[in-house]
């Protein structure tokens, strides 16, 4: 009962804002190629869901974004663990990482386009590049932040390096690695959509652009809303995963 009420409360603010927008636009009689009333957006959303185009576009975006996430996030995690575990490797790579990290993925799109043309490979490359660094930084920090006493203990009881990684470092760093992964999931979606907006002729970003160019602001906002909802769902999934992996007892290891 109470949790239901709590959930409903979360919906109050956005609903109020939507109603306000609807009322305001009706009152002002807004006529625009770039804006649409919430009610029109809702209709367009229903239509796009009904004809399957939205779901198809979602599958394309999620497929490319997911593959990019796996490649970039996986490599980032591996590198983060490596750099976190071996301070030498971490320090040697520091400058290169710091120099490459701020390179915006959008600046890469033209280069990736020339190399691969449009298509999944290009999108995966750009998404992977973008997911790589946050995952690397956060997992490196998570590993470096493991309670030193635990590592000392592990060394003293004679765990091998490998065992220390598996039995101490990873479980202790897991909560923060999951936070990083959650972030990376969000980034992957955002970048995948951006690549589609800027170049790739499929997926949600492409749909968004086409809707805009076809003078369908209602459909454009429907896509925008759907992207938000998708991100929200992914995040909820990640939170559930976090809950499963972190019991009340090992939570303390996160901090």
């Amino acid at each position: 009962m109470r949790t239901l009420a709590m959930r409903l409360r979360g919906a109050v603010v956005p609903l109020a804002l939507l109603l306000l927008a609807e009322a305001g636009m009706r009152a002002a009689g807004t006529q625009s190629d770039a804006l649409a009333r919430p009610s029109e957006v809702a209709l367009a959303l229903g239509e796009a869901l009904g004809d399957g185009s939205l779901l198809r576009a979602s599958a394309q975006t999620l497929g490319a974004g997911g593959a990019g996430l796996l490649v970039g996030g996986g490599l980032g995690l591996a590198a983060g663990l490596w750099f976190g575990l071996s301070p030498l490797a971490g320090r040697l790579s520091a400058l290169t990482v710091e120099l490459l990290k701020p390179v915006p993925s959008v600046a890469l799109i033209p280069i990736a386009m020339l190399l691969f043309g449009f298509g999944y490979r290009m999108e995966i490359l750009v998404v992977a590049f973008t997911c790589f660094f946050p995952m690397l930084m956060l997992s490196q920090a998570a590993v470096a932040g493991v309670e030193p006493r635990l590592l000392e203990m592990g060394t003293v009881i004679g765990l091998t390096r490998r065992q220390r990684v598996w039995k101490i470092v990873l479980p202790a760093a897991l909560p923060r690695i999951l936070v990083g992964f959650r972030l990376a999931v969000g980034i992957a979606l955002v970048v995948a959509v951006t690549v589609e907006i800027a170049a790739n002729p499929y997926g949600l970003g492409y749909g968004l652009m086409i809707a805009q160019q076809s003078l369908r602001p209602d459909l454009m906002f429907a896509f925008l809303f759907w992207i938000g909802a998708l991100g929200w769902g992914l995040n909820a999934l990640m939170v559930a995963l976090q809950r499963r992996c972190i019991t009340p007892f090992n939570q303390g290891a996160a901090s």
Partner: protein, 283 residues
């Protein structure tokens, strides 16, 4: 039956306590501190420490809070390197932690894996030693029984009281079957009865296995009751005086008894002697 008050820097030439003869093969290595100094944060914490631990010897360390007892113990594990001087074991310089040196940390709360149960935490040591899976359960149950945690095997550390956490740490160290056991105020969080029980348990175990023990405590009675020798450290040694203020051999027969031993005149004499000495050096 006389307290050998050994002048600083000199060590007893011979193993005089019965325990030392009982030393097993695994412990047949002398530990030697050779003019060890250590600076931390620009301050001299330990100065000119020079002493020898015979294999199988049970050495207790006392001294005021902050005098460097924990630091001394960390030096022995190899977790901290001396600024000058060397620490050798069996003639070889200690370069880093080794499996046959076990340590019971003072801050027990931080040395346990919060995501493993009581049994899981003990298991960690067995896993480190590559004990086959099927053997582990039995040995874990055995160890937990020894420290009185048998009925808490499935709890997480955060569900244990302070004393129980410390006992868990001890169980894990015993699982290691170490040749050298370092204990940093291991019984500080225990009640009197549990403490006495564990004192005898540990004393018996190390005697049997010939383990060399360095035992930090702030309880003089405990130091005398357990030790073959008691070492007193000096706070703020500076650069002129050695950290080692005194080394007192305890010539009381083993096995010792919680009631009888503590009433022996030699025990009382040593206690008074140590007490006076420390009081004198305090402030």
């Amino acid at each position: 039956m006389n307290a050998q008050v050994v002048p600083l820097g000199q060590q007893p030439r011979q193993a005089s306590s019965p325990r030392r003869q009982a030393a097993g093969a695994g412990a047949s290595k002398q530990i030697r501190f050779d003019r060890v100094c250590l600076d931390l944060g620009g301050r001299r914490i330990i100065n000119d420490l020079d002493f020898v631990m015979e294999p199988g010897e049970f050495v207790c360390v006392v001294g005021p809070s902050g005098c460097g007892k924990t630091t001394l113990l960390r030096l022995l594990t190899g977790l901290v390197k001396p600024s000058t001087g060397a620490i050798t074991r069996g003639g070889v310089e200690i370069s880093g932690p080794s499996r046959d040196v076990a340590i019971v940390f003072q801050d027990y709360g931080k040395a346990l894996l919060p995501w493993r149960t009581v049994a899981g935490n003990v298991s960690l040591a067995l896993e480190a030693m590559a004990v086959p899976k099927e053997e582990r359960a039995g040995r874990i149950a055995d160890l937990l029984r020894k420290v009185g945690l048998a009925s808490h095997a499935e709890k997480y550390p955060s569900q244990l009281s302070g004393g129980m956490q410390q006992r868990l740490q001890i169980a894990r160290c015993l699982a290691q079957e170490p040749a050298v056991l370092l204990m940093d105020e291991p019984f500080g969080a225990l009640d009197a009865m549990t403490r006495q029980g564990l004192q005898d348990e540990v004393a018996g175990l190390v005697e049997e296995l010939g383990t060399t023990v360095l035992f930090i405590t702030h309880d003089l009675d405990e130091a005398i009751y357990l030790g073959d020798r008691v070492i007193a450290l000096r706070a703020n040694p500076g650069r002129d005086s050695s950290s080692l203020a005194q080394s007192i051999a305890i010539d009381i027969a083993r096995p010792r008894d919680q009631l009888a031993t503590r009433e022996e005149p030699e025990f009382l004499r040593l206690r008074r002697h140590l007490f006076d000495f420390i009081q004198e050096h305090h402030k």
